[in-house]
């Protein structure tokens, strides 16, 4: 950090707004954008960048969930239920560090993510999932619901399928986040969209709610370690909150099709980023 000044803080604030908008739309924490921005553009040490990005995850989550929960886009029941698997996964993943080779995992899951792009390409024209029926677990937990779609101008009822498989995927997402220190938003959206067949808006907003909960414990840990510098985290938190607020208002008006077109390239970028990190290239 050569010249820390108010101008730099303003630039960080601007970048955070962008991260907040994107994160709130696609259900991710915005770490993919913030960590490289803070380290490469502003020369911040990586541990500060990671600590700050975890604050950004919570800001994205809470800032957008405030609107999404009110507008009944978030399925709190699905989110809370799946969160059991994610949080257990995160703790167990954190214990596995040192036993597994992270480089190899980055490559493996980067490739898994790249392959998962393919079925999504075929879903590009899909506005709402069709012919989905509740499985037994979803029925037992009353997971299905409906959300008001501002774009379609009506209430959209939906059901939830393959809940156990979705739960399994959430556990893996949690393990990855604990093990590799990456946000698991993209895996969460994938699990809800591809496996459990929820409408995309419900998937991204529910993921948004979940990422904040998963990040809360590690945010506390990073804070007490001194990895969250207030000077940097303050403009990031405020910028992300503003961005998430704007994004949440934008999402209500978007169609699921458009949202998919935004999600797809971001997912591909994350996948490539992961593979590259496996080969020692941090971008």
């Amino acid at each position: 950090m050569a010249h820390l000044s108010l101008v730099i803080l303003l630039l960080i604030f601007g970048g955070a707004i962008l991260a907040g908008i994107i994160g709130s739309l696609v259900g991710l924490g915005g770490g993919i954008l913030l960590v490289p921005m803070l380290t490469l553009a502003f020369g911040l040490p990586i541990h500060y960048a990671i600590g700050t990005s975890i604050v950004a995850v919570i800001a994205t989550s809470s800032g957008s969930a405030a609107a999404y929960v009110r507008d009944r886009l978030t399925n709190m029941r699905v989110g809370l239920f799946l969160e059991v698997a994610t949080t257990i996964g995160a703790v167990s993943g954190a214990f596995l560090t040192g036993f597994l080779v992270p480089q190899l995992l980055f490559v493996i899951f980067g490739i898994v993510l790249l392959i998962s792009v393919i079925p999504l390409v075929f879903k590009i024209g899909e506005e709402l999932p069709k012919g989905v029926r509740n499985d037994r677990l979803a029925n037992w937990l009353h997971l299905s619901g409906s959300y008001p779609d501002r774009h379609l101008g009506r209430e959209v009822p939906y059901q939830v399928t393959h809940t156990p498989q979705g739960l399994g995927m959430m556990y893996i997402a949690g393990v990855l986040s604990g093990l590799l220190g990456i946000g698991s938003g993209v895996f969460k959206v994938l699990a809800m969209d591809t496996i459990m067949r929820l409408p995309l808006k419900v998937s991204t907003t529910t993921s948004n709610f979940m990422i904040g909960v998963t990040a809360a414990a590690s945010a506390g840990i990073y804070f007490s370690r001194g990895d969250i510098p207030p000077l940097i985290a303050a403009p990031v938190a405020l910028g992300v909150l503003a961005g998430a607020f704007a994004g949440s208002h934008l999402l209500a008006r978007l169609s699921n099709k458009t949202l998919r077109l935004i999600f797809l390239p971001i997912m591909a970028i994350i996948a490539v980023q992961m593979v590259l990190r496996g080969f020692g290239l941090t971008i």
């Binding site: 709190m76 994610t86 703790v91 299905s144 009822p157 604990g178 909960v213 990040a215 804070f223």
Partner: protein, 164 residues
């Protein structure tokens, strides 16, 4: 589990949807029935919405409060002579005691840290509220689920092992 007629109604609808065009069918359903009948546990629908309402309120209130405190901290910092310095970037309060001590002297970094700590606490407060709301609704399964998530979060924090 109690048998709810709307569950069957909805199942019937979805089997139909397999053969019929989804978009054409659904507006008809919406027209013919009030929306609340489309959710499976229609008896729970109103209380579910009030849970969402309360949680939405807490989220908004928490976010606004946290952002306000953080802003005040930044303003104090800007007013402090030589406000933004490299030294301040690397030296800051990061324990509750430090933050508390700093707040007494209205140190800008401590004020910001308070705002950030509140932000970090929001998801935990949300899950706690959800647990209470589910308990009040006598939804045992989801009370247990929310409390489990809370317990894992606390364990995770105490162990110092968490995810991103």
């Amino acid at each position: 589990m109690d048998v709810n007629p709307s569950v069957f109604l909805k199942r019937y609808d979805t089997t139909l949807m397999k053969d019929l065009h989804f978009k054409q069918l659904v507006p008809e359903i919406s027209k013919s029935q009030p929306v609340s009948n489309l959710t499976p546990a229609s008896s729970q629908a109103s209380s579910k919405e009030s849970t969402g309402f309360i949680i939405g309120l807490i989220l908004r209130g928490g976010v606004i409060l946290s952002a306000t405190i953080t802003c005040i901290g930044l303003l104090l910092l800007a007013l402090t002579p030589g406000g933004v310095t490299e030294h301040r970037l690397v030296t800051f309060p990061h324990t509750l005691n430090d933050v508390w001590a700093g707040l007494q002297g209205l140190h800008p970094q401590a004020v910001i840290a308070l705002g950030l700590l509140l932000l970090i606490a929001i998801p935990v407060i949300t899950v706690t509220t959800a647990a209470i709301a589910f308990a009040l609704e006598r939804d045992r399964r989801f009370t247990v689920i929310a409390l489990t998530v809370l317990a894992i979060l606390i364990t995770s924090f105490l162990l110092g092992k968490g995810g991103a």
